[in-house]
């Protein structure tokens, strides 16, 4: 059985949206508890080898404290910076190891960092972030069991693994960065506290999905042009007067009217230039890129993003295969 990876971001669920919105604080002690439950779920499915991303808080060692497990846990040998690069490096290490699955604890931003380097290893994302469109709000125990199902050496087709699209930010042929859910172009300025919450500063939104029931800037798209995650299409929204005002929950407790000047659905083969420069681009909710005046960036919808385990379907398939029944003597 191949190893299962765990990447728990100690920085997720703590940004300025606790102050400017009403985001929940995701204390690292709770992440420790979730990792414990994931490990117990994995153990129950017979997973023997778990590799955890190290971090300065020590989520892994704290989770293992006094935990009685049969499986073996080790830590990825990666340099630590205390930045999102740690998650990307951990994902690369797990991809190189041929991991069966990576359980992530974080929000959209964490999964974006992991998706940069996880290759074909499927992700099982547990939400511990602020705006959580990509990860699932799920009990850690079930996530652990589902990850265990994904790790089983089985000849059955893995009908519970989907391919998520991604947005690629390109300068000519150079891939500058990616996003899993949204790219938001806003006024020029600094990266500073990273989050975006002031709709008056926003000019363009690009989305891989626009599903009603989501929070963040994808909710703007959802309320003018609903589009499921796996439609194979994206949405480009131009903010401004002359169109519709859309009520959108852009962050926890922060519901705003957003002026949508226009929107359109676009296809993967259709690069769209970033028309507003200079600007700051936020990727999956975090200001990441400073765009200079005249910088020619284009946004592409790429169908081949990370593979993702659908927890409910994984558990259903395992149940149908009688994996949860004790074998008859």
């Amino acid at each position: 059985m191949r190893p299962v990876g765990i990447i728990a971001n100690p920085a997720s669920g703590k940004d300025i949206r606790r102050l400017v919105a009403f985001g929940s604080v995701f204390d690292n002690h709770e992440k420790v508890n979730i990792v414990r439950r994931v490990l117990l779920g994995l153990d129950s499915m017979g997973v023997q080898d778990v590799r955890i991303m190290p971090d300065f808080f020590g989520i892994g060692p704290r989770a293992l404290d006094d935990l009685d497990l049969s499986l073996k846990v080790s830590y990825l040998d990666i340099p630590l910076e205390g930045t999102q690069e740690d998650s990307t490096r951990a994902a690369k290490a797990l991809s190189d190891l041929g991991a069966a699955c990576i359980v992530t604890l974080g929000g959209d931003g964490t999964n974006r960092a992991v998706a940069k380097a996880c290759g074909e290893v499927p992700l099982l994302p547990i939400s511990t972030g602020t705006n959580n469109v990509f990860p699932f709000m799920v009990e850690g125990t079930l996530a652990g069991i589902a990850a265990g199902v994904a790790a089983l050496d089985s000849s059955s087709p893995r009908s519970f693994i989907d391919r998520a699209p991604r947005l690629e930010i390109r300068r000519g042929s150079e891939l500058v960065d990616i996003a899993l859910v949204d790219v938001v172009v806003s006024n020029p300025g600094f990266i500073a506290s990273r989050a975006v919450w002031d709709v008056s500063t926003i000019h363009e939104i690009f989305l891989t999905r626009a599903e009603p029931g989501t929070i963040g800037f994808s909710s703007v798209g959802a309320n003018v042009c609903a589009l499921p995650a796996n439609s194979g299409k994206g949405v480009h929204i131009t903010i401004g007067d002359g169109g519709q005002k859309v009520k959108a929950p852009i962050a926890p407790g922060l519901i705003r009217w957003v002026s949508v000047a226009s929107y359109r659905v676009f296809e993967p083969a259709e690069p769209i230039p970033v028309s507003y420069t200079p600007s700051v681009i936020a990727l999956d909710g975090e200001r990441e890129l400073i765009v200079s005046k005249g910088d020619r960036l284009t946004i592409h919808l790429a169908p081949k993003g990370p593979r993702v385990v659908d927890i409910a379907r994984a558990l259903r398939q395992a149940s149908e295969l009688c994996l949860f029944l004790q074998p008859q003597a």
Partner: protein, 326 residues
Amino acid sequence: MDLPKADLLQMYKKMVTIREFEESLAEAVAGGTLPGFVHLGVGQEAVMVGVAAPLRPTDWISGTHREHGMMIARGADMGPMRAEIFGKATGYCKGKGGSMHLAVYEKCAPGCNGILGPNQTINNGIALALKRRGKGDIAVVLFGDGASHRGEFHEALNLASIWKLPAMAICVNNQYGISGCVDDVCAVEDISARAAGYGMPGLTVDGCDVMAVYEAVSETAKSIRAGKGPALLELKTSRWRGHFEGDPQSYRPPQEMEETRRRDPIARFAKQLLDQGMAKEAELQKLRDEAKRELQAAIEFTDKSGYPPEEEIYTDLVYAEGRSVR
């Protein structure tokens, strides 16, 4: 967060000025011209400037003995600042406060505090007064990670919360309480997590990024002025020098010092300004030159100043006015 270029350059200049001022004190201690304990905030300039810049001149701000730089960020004159630290009569407190009790009341800065922890409860008193005045001013207090383990921290947060005081508590987490590394003495990774226990928002910010600090303080101040009650900010930063001048820092691994200097908040801000075309190198150099000149003037002012006369030794003391303390 649209700040005009002039404001951004002013912030840069203040950061450079604070660095120059503090390093000149280090030289004075090493050279034997400045006796006594001096605690320097070199490496923490983004905290000082990022906190002070978004506040109103009528907001009050107090700190610990490492917050000389905060006074400069608030606009205090380096001449009487330095004179005070050298015990000269021309100092802000007539040379009687020194480094540990430097206060600049005209800048609503009631002082550095040599005792770490109590300034948080004092800040509640200031916040209560400001609340009663009803002009929307707030009281900001800075303290270290070490002080956040003391009882006063918890008492102050609790009282500020139940009285909904216009108070902003800022933990300057420079990773060390004297010689104790925060990782060894703190049960939580983020001290801001303690805010939840007192029903207030808590936020951890990169204290080496002046714009991140500015944005967080600005938004927090907005929330407090709106009557939403106190908040706790934690600014993670680094102390470049010892706890006090003369501390050999044998408890710190050398590679940690290298990493600390790699995060230099001044170099980082300069790079941001240059990369974004908000300043040219020549403009930044001009500001650095100005800071050096202004410091030189402050040094000369201090050197020319005399010590307080002996007959004033018992005046200006809080409890001594008009009575004998002998």
